[in-house]
Symmetry: C2
Subunit: 370 residues, 2 copies
Amino acid sequence: MLDPEHLARIRLLRTDRIGPVSFAQLIARFGSATAAIEALPDLVQRAGGKAIRVATHAQVTAEVARVEAAGARYLFADDGDYPALLGHIDNAPPVVTFRGEAALLNRPAIAMVGARNASAAACRFARQIAGELAEAGYLVVSGLARGIDTAAHEGAMRVAGSGLASTAGVIASGIDISYPPENRSLQAEMGERALVIAEQPPGTEPLARHFPYRNRIIAGMALGTLVVEAAPKSGSLITARLAAEAGRDVMAIPGSPLDSRSRGCNELIRGGATLVQSVSDILDLVEPFAAGQTQRVAAPAPRFSAATPAVEPDDKARQDIVSLLSAAPVGIDELVRQSGIESGAVQMILLDLELAGLIERHAAARVSLI
Amino acid sequence: MLDPEHLARIRLLRTDRIGPVSFAQLIARFGSATAAIEALPDLVQRAGGKAIRVATHAQVTAEVARVEAAGARYLFADDGDYPALLGHIDNAPPVVTFRGEAALLNRPAIAMVGARNASAAACRFARQIAGELAEAGYLVVSGLARGIDTAAHEGAMRVAGSGLASTAGVIASGIDISYPPENRSLQAEMGERALVIAEQPPGTEPLARHFPYRNRIIAGMALGTLVVEAAPKSGSLITARLAAEAGRDVMAIPGSPLDSRSRGCNELIRGGATLVQSVSDILDLVEPFAAGQTQRVAAPAPRFSAATPAVEPDDKARQDIVSLLSAAPVGIDELVRQSGIESGAVQMILLDLELAGLIERHAAARVSLI
């Protein structure tokens, strides 16, 4: 079913040290995943890193079989149904797996996130808002977690009766794993008549470190993110920050300062998030962008302007960049400015360093030494 | 105890058709209340209005006796204790009556207003915030109404023990009348060891039409107004608007959109009011201005630049202005612009028209035909 290049893309992505950013750079540099995989061992050796273990064809064939057995499919970044807004974020996933109706991905989306231990009143309100958003033609995106996430999905499912429901659950595990246990039937039902999306390969348990990556997909798919009830320093606020960094609207429902579960939302509002009291407040904000979703964000600049930089970076350039790096994350634009080296060459050096296992990428286009 | 000029000021203010704006214009034009009262009948006749009934000396002497009997005193706009910030609003009261400790008026003030039917939780929170503001050296100004007003006063009284309490109640009745009945003892106690302020003459019942005037004093005295819990279209929102018009901070405590008593506050925040979750949020906002209160607002421009305009307005000018007026309020600056007549002359014409009983003044320096 998958052609060799698509299989190669999955192999490349499942290879150590390859993340969404290095994936895109390698494709830009070598033209295809097939060519990148061939070039990879040499590239790593030249960069002075330990040998890289490229995912095998057999490994990926087994993965594909497992995805199919789970009733799921792959969605690649260049597929027609791949959410346009998601493609605009810095580290958009090159491929995800999903169950359900891909056509839903063409709907304008609103993310709804909030506390796992949300109050009953907040959950009821989340259900109501999600239902109204779904009825208004919006895809309600959330994370299939307890509390507000569940309420948001349920609200959208409920108004659909037994028909196609306008909601997508982005999970931190593989597509074949349900979590938390009490959402097993909800996730199964969404896999039939809504959407469940997973970035991790099948069989992956939902580990804590996966959640921020999952959250970037939730925020990235949506025109705006609504936080319903969230304590300070909660994961929902990370999603809100990712939405803001992607240039999307951040919205929050206020609550009494006497309830600690409201203080995160209230802080967001103090920081500039739009206070939302009803669905009409949301629609007022996002409707102008909902028709032509992609007008919302500027057309993406060619992400790696110098897949072929004017001058191949030499050892001195490489050393200059390394000397500017430390364990504290620094912006790539800052490296370009301080080194005086052409942006494309800096990107190429960073790719080499990443493949050599020497640096780590962080949110907002920042890197640090490992 | 009061000298003849001060008695004349009270007479002038208790005269029909004289409000704070025309009072100030007459003083600016004639130099004193005594001179203004002498000039008044001619002025009205010249303006073509029905004869004006000037308050008599006997009437005012009786009022003064009644104020003294109530244990109250007069506070004139040029007294040292008159609150500096209050003097900066457009229609500052030329005189008020008060009971209690005038020295409290020199403290930086925060207004706290909210719903009469506020929730128990909001009242508790208001008491706490008021207590903390009082302890921080702020004067807590409110309206001695049920609900949030009462809670705010009580909070400030409580932290004072039996000493001087840092709170002022501005009432819509005369200084000798208590309202509502359940606040009789609170008002009496505040008259002893805090402050009670009334603009209306003694004996005046608290009529609905007095409340907006009362509210302008609450907002006008304060660096900022905090709305604690308020439904849409409530009186508290009027106070907030008056505060904003006077260039003061508007703050609001958010609440769940599911509680209608929070929706007014939430709308204020949507409209730009500062979301407040604790006293420190308030202090962060107002502290930079609390030391030198009056730096907050620009020094007042001489309010009536042409008590003696360059050219006395003639009949044609008067007719031009009248033709620009209608039952819909229009800004005085707009009249100046459209008529091309000098600002001082326009003010003089408007004063004549007001004394003639032909026009009415509205908030934000607007006027309409009656």
